[in-house]
Amino acid sequence: MLEIKNLHAKVDGDMILRGVDLEIPQGEVHAIMGPNGSGKSTLSYVLAGKDDYEITEGSIVWNGQDLSELEVDERVAAGFFLAMQYPVEIPGVGTMNFLRSAMNAVRKARGEDELNAAETMRIVREKAEALNIPLDMLKRPLNVGFSGGEKKRMEILQMSLLSPTLCVLDETDSGLDIDALRIVSDGVNAMRGPDKAILVITHYQRLLEYIVPDKVHVLSKGRIVRSGGKELALELEKSGYAEYGEDEAA
């Protein structure tokens, strides 16, 4: 179970999260929706442990473990994974080399045997195929020159390779066409399981037709202001976020 209690966090001196309360039991998928600027990405970075995101109050506990005490990489070893809204390009770091470093770092931290190059290649190929990621992409520097959709698929590939138990997906749907959306959603749905908790952050209801959530929450001005079942997403789609502090155009 993920338990976020009264979470307050500052970025560059500005209080962005103002008391987030959220519980996601294992086996469930929750969605956070909300207007631009409401703090959705901030919440995801605070969960990941990014520098400059300072927790001033509250707690984040995953299966009894206080995540906020851990370094960024240690959280990943503990089962956390964040698929980022804006994956970065890293020139000079080959994708395959990167994937192997990540997989082995996590395996090592979890006390598992490291993989050799051939084993890595076999596992990566298999998962990449399912996500419709051409092998050619794996030979290029990480994310360099990838389209928005390719980057998002690469995030999901990494997620499936690192076997997380707590997944946060920040606007993974943005920049995806319908086919890509279906592929990515299949990838996420494949991650569902009795020991997994998944948090899907999105601005639009569309994604939630493919990844059907158990609960939907609305984040506004750094707090969860409403929670409900999956029908809440449809309601928001119709009414917009105007009443949550942002105009329709955003």
């Binding site: 990941a48 990014k50 520098d51 370094e71 960024v72 990489d73 990943v76 070893a77 964040l82 980022m84 994956p87 970065v88 890293i90 020139p91 000079g92 770091v93 080399n97 990167f98 470093s101 990540a102 770092a105 996590v106 931290a109 520097p141 990494q158 690192l162």
Partner: protein
């Protein structure tokens, strides 16, 4: 220019001047008129110039005079160096690299440790000392005259004191099947001053990879002045690589004086990770049309290391191309200096020259100085330069760590991504892979 008269000389300068009178008669070539005169002229020039300090424009970032207060004992004899010492300083990959091996141990060419089996018909090697004592006509004609530089005190000092080195003559059209590896090592653990001079003549259309490896790991407190003169014949293809892995207290000054013939293709690369104060000077001159040259280097420094890469490229002929890329990774209080001067003569139309210097700063106390200079006298040229200096990108570091990669490994990945772009310029695969391995290990060693 006479600097010595208007300032107090240092102990090092006094010792060098005094020492010359003592050793001149025993240095190689003492019985050969022109050699003796060449040394005397050089010494007179050194007397006038003194060691270069920051008042000399080209040395303003690298004050050799201040760093070299004393001159160590001149090392002209070889202390016992064994195969395993060489293995230790090179590492298994470079030691086992298939090559023609030439070893200069403590300033003396060591025939026993050298091996050029199979060179017949392709190239010849003699020691510099031998050659100076009995110089053939072709050598007299060229030696000391390759891309000469005015008022360079360290070159003058080298000419005055050069004790040994190698003379390599590659036959016209010869294609060497493996690199010539010139290994300059020291055996004694006592501080010493080593002055080495190499002369390389590459015949027309020949193909050569020459690697110079320096290590004074056994002699941490080494002072080295090494010069390599190289004539690259018309249409010859030369790769000239340097591996500078001197001891942690070493002062290392190396100068390459190179002239390129028409249609020549020259690729120079320096990988510098050693030395307390090291400067590599690359003087390159285009003598014929349609030649191209790439000068690049990777420097990885920590602690108090000060490493300087200075290039002076003279485009004297039209239609030539030069490319420069120098990258520095600087940690702790280290200092990296990249100076690049490109001089395009009036007749060198259609010159295409570009230089780039980049640094990655791993600490707030590190320093990077870059000085690009263009002197263009022709009107139809394409020349440019650029410099960048940046820190590790926190967003990239976060991304890697958010994939479970610990900070140290994530930093190493980014450092390598940065520096390997320069190392990729090495054409010889064995050498390139060896440098990539060392760059991958570097951060672990620097950060302990």
């Amino acid at each position: 220019m006479n600097i010595m008269t208007d300032r107090k000389t240092t102990a090092a300068e006094d010792a060098l001047v005094e020492r010359f009178d003592g050793v001149a008669s025993s240095l190689p070539g003492a019985n050969v008129d022109w050699v003796r005169k060449m040394r005397e002229t050089a010494m007179a020039q050194f007397k006038a110039l003194g060691l270069p300090d920051r008042r000399v424009e080209q040395w303003k970032y690298s004050d050799l005079r201040a760093k070299m207060r004393e001159a160590h004992e001149t090392r002209v004899e070889s202390d016992a160096i064994s195969e395993s010492d060489i293995y230790d300083v090179l590492g298994v990959d470079l030691d086992e690299m298939l090559s023609y091996r030439l070893v200069v141990a403590d300033g003396v060419f060591d025939k026993e440790l050298s091996n050029i089996d199979g060179a017949e018909g392709k190239f010849e090697v003699t020691s510099l000392a031998e050659t100076l004592n009995d110089p053939p006509a072709w050598f007299e004609e060229k030696f000391g005259k390759v891309n000469p530089q005015k008022n360079e005190a360290v070159l003058a000092l080298n000419t005055a004191f050069m004790s040994d080195g190698v003379v390599i003559r590659v036959a016209d059209g010869a294609e060497l099947d493996r690199p010539v590896h010139l290994i300059m090592v020291t055996g004694s653990t006592k501080p010493g001053l080593v002055t080495t001079r190499n002369f390389v003549h590459v015949g027309e259309g020949a193909k050569l990879t020459l690697m110079e490896s320096f290590s004074a790991r056994r002699t941490p407190d080494m002072q080295r002045n090494c010069v390599t003169e190289m004539v690259v014949g018309d249409n010859a293809v030369v790769e000239h690589v340097k591996y500078q892995n001197e001891g942690r207290m070493a002062i290392h000054v190396a100068s390459w004086l190179t002239e390129l013939g028409q249609g020549a293709d020259y690729n120079a690369f320096e990988f510098a990770i050693g030395g307390a104060m090291a400067r590599h000077q690359n003087f390159l001159r285009f003598n014929g049309e349609h030649a191209s040259a790439a000068l690049s280097g990777a420097m990885m420094l920590w602690d108090n290391q000060h490493v300087d890469a200075t290039t002076v490229v003279n485009h004297d002929a039209p239609n030539c191309q030069s490319r420069e890329l120098f990258k520095c990774v600087l940690d702790d209080k280290s200092r990296g200096v990249v100076q690049g001067k490109v001089i395009v003569a009036k007749e060198a139309q259609k010159t295409d020259g570009h230089q780039m210097a980049r640094s990655l700063m791993l600490s707030e106390t590190a320093e990077f100085d870059s000085k690009p200079e263009l002197e263009i006298y022709a009107d139809d040229v394409l020349c440019g330069h650029g410099t960048t200096s940046g820190e590790l990108d926190e967003n990239l570091l976060f991304y890697l760590m958010a994939r479970g990669i610990p900070e140290k490994k994530a930093t190493a990945l980014l450092v390598n991504a940065f520096i390997d772009e320069a190392i990729e310029n090495v054409r010889n695969e064995t050498i390139r892979e060896a440098f990539l391995l060392r760059s991958a290990d570097w951060l672990g060693e620097a950060r302990g």
